[in-house]
Amino acid sequence: MIVTEGLTKRYRKVNALADLSLTIRQGEVFGLLGPNGSGKTTTIRLLLGLLRPTSGHATVAGYDCWADSLQVRRLVSYLPGELRMPGSMSGFSLLRYLSDLRGGETLDRAVALAEQVMKLDLRRKVRTYSTGMKQKLALAQAFSDPVEILILDEPTSALDPSARAEVLQLVRQANRIHKQTVIFSGHVLSEVEEVSDRVAIMAEGRMLHLEDLHERRSLRLLLIRFTGEVPMDFPPELALTVRETREGGCLLLEHRGELGELLEWLNHQREQVVDLAIGTDDLKSLYEQYHQSKPAELEPTTR
């Protein structure tokens, strides 16, 4: 659905985005993670044709994001990260304006979403709205657009916890019911993890890692203390890999295989295994692997 190949944006000597190559599949929720200045917003602006790539290219449904930007924007609805709205308009006028820019078909749905789900008073001027209310208004429009792709740049940054939960629910609905492809850029790891199928971790304009969260959800971490010599090789069918060797005969292992086989193997090893802890791994630990180190020291990896 969305393909970038060697996508690069350079401002004089600064690389805002360097050599980004990725494919976002139709119908998936794709998370973009990274600190400020990591290239998330630049990537989005390149996809929308607001920026011209220095090199490389991006396509959305086969349309070149720069040359056929208008076609691309017919397929995409975008929620900007730094949301600014004309304050002199009422909430209703703004929804009507945004709806008219797409042919006027989405107004009723946007109004219903804004009033009933987001609980907004659309008669009020936008300048009297709080930041969170403005974000809700823009979200109501974005979720109402009849498009194939939603690009949400930090969609929950100004929202209270209950509104955040509603937005995540809307993202899931957009994806599962309306079959929309969603790009979800954010800072809150738990939110990105909750809704995304895959996540790209970015820093300083580079994609450092691409993680499939379905696979990650099946990942178990085993902390095992052995007596005597610590084994470093395991039967391949167990899909066990060593993440870390610790002092005192301890190993931290990653397991991605079948649980039954693992339990059977552990049963056979009960003479050697002194202690055992089984847990899961969240996105935070993966993220920290990349953001506690300098990006230049890390090689891009893909899973």
């Binding site: 602006r45 929308l48 820019l101």
Partner: protein, 275 residues
């Protein structure tokens, strides 16, 4: 409503106060010019009445017979007054700078251009709104003169055509200033710079014409040819129409060149997020 009309309506809504108040100011200023003309003509009649020994020489610089020209020449001579020019030029510069860079600066361009709107459509809607505004301002002067004429009887009331000619000249002047300000705005990302460039260029052009017309600076008369105000002569446009076509051509040429360069520059530029 079509996307283009939605854009035009939004621009109109955002500039309605400036346009409304400026139009009102021009309407009453032109009303005032008629009042002044009536009073002046009464004074002239007294001065040139039999036995007073004076002749009507006030309009000898304007071609034609005094009886045909007097009123309109006096009325539209005021259209050279800074009060009137400032109103029209303020509109031209403010709408020119608002076209692109102001929208980038306040961050509202993202909201519009993330929708399926081409950059050409967006900028064309800005241009149309600005030109409609210029037309409204020019028409306010005609309207003020005509309406005031019903209440204040001048010696020779001007026809609509006579008033439309200097209004067209004024429209051309506004278009020229709008064009080069928009050109600056289309490639910038802050509003103050196109505002500054538009204002300084206009003021410089005005000063050049003033210098060219200072009698003691005879040797510098040639620099007046480089002022856009040289192509703005409302009295001549109203009275004879001579050179009006050429003047309008020059002014529209400058304006259209600026607009075309703005469209080209805007289509090729990056649109950064607001800072």
């Amino acid at each position: 409503m079509t996307p283009f009309l939605a854009l035009v309506r939004k621009h109109g809504r955002e500039s309605r106060w400036l346009l409304g108040l400026t139009s009102l100011a021009l309407f009453f200023l032109s009303w005032l010019t008629v009042v002044i003309t009536v009073l002046t003509e009464a004074k002239l009649r007294r001065a040139t009445s039999p036995g007073r020994g004076m002749r009507g020489l006030a309009f000898r610089a304007v071609e034609g017979r005094l009886s045909d020209l007097g009123s309109v020449a006096f009325e539209v001579a005021w259209w050279n007054h800074p009060f009137i020019l400032v109103n029209v030029l303020l509109w031209a510069i403010s709408r020119g700078s608002a076209g692109v860079s102001a929208e980038i600066e306040r961050g509202t361009l993202d909201l519009t251009l993330s929708r399926p709107i081409s950059r050409t459509t967006y900028l064309t809607s800005q241009i149309l709104s600005a030109l409609l505004g210029l037309a409204v301002l020019s028409s306010s002067l005609i309207l003020g003169t005509v309406v005031s004429g019903y209440f204040n009887k001048v010696d020779s009331p001007p026809t609509l055509v006579m008033l439309a000619r200097p209004a067209l000249n004024l429209f051309g002047l506004g278009l020229a200033v709008y064009g080069f300000t928009l050109m600056c705005s289309a490639v910038d990302q802050v509003r103050w710079r196109p505002n500054l460039i538009g204002s300084v260029a206009t003021l410089t052009s005005f000063v050049i014409l003033v210098i060219a017309n200072v009698p003691v600076l005879e040797d510098w008369k040639w620099i007046g040819n480089y002022s856009i105000f040289k192509a703005y002569d409302p009295v001549s446009a109203a009275v004879t129409g001579k050179d009006l076509g050429f003047h309008v051509l020059i002014l529209v040429g400058i304006g259209v060149t600026g607009i075309v360069l703005a469209l080209l520059g805007f289509a090729r530029r990056d649109l950064p997020a607001n800072s």
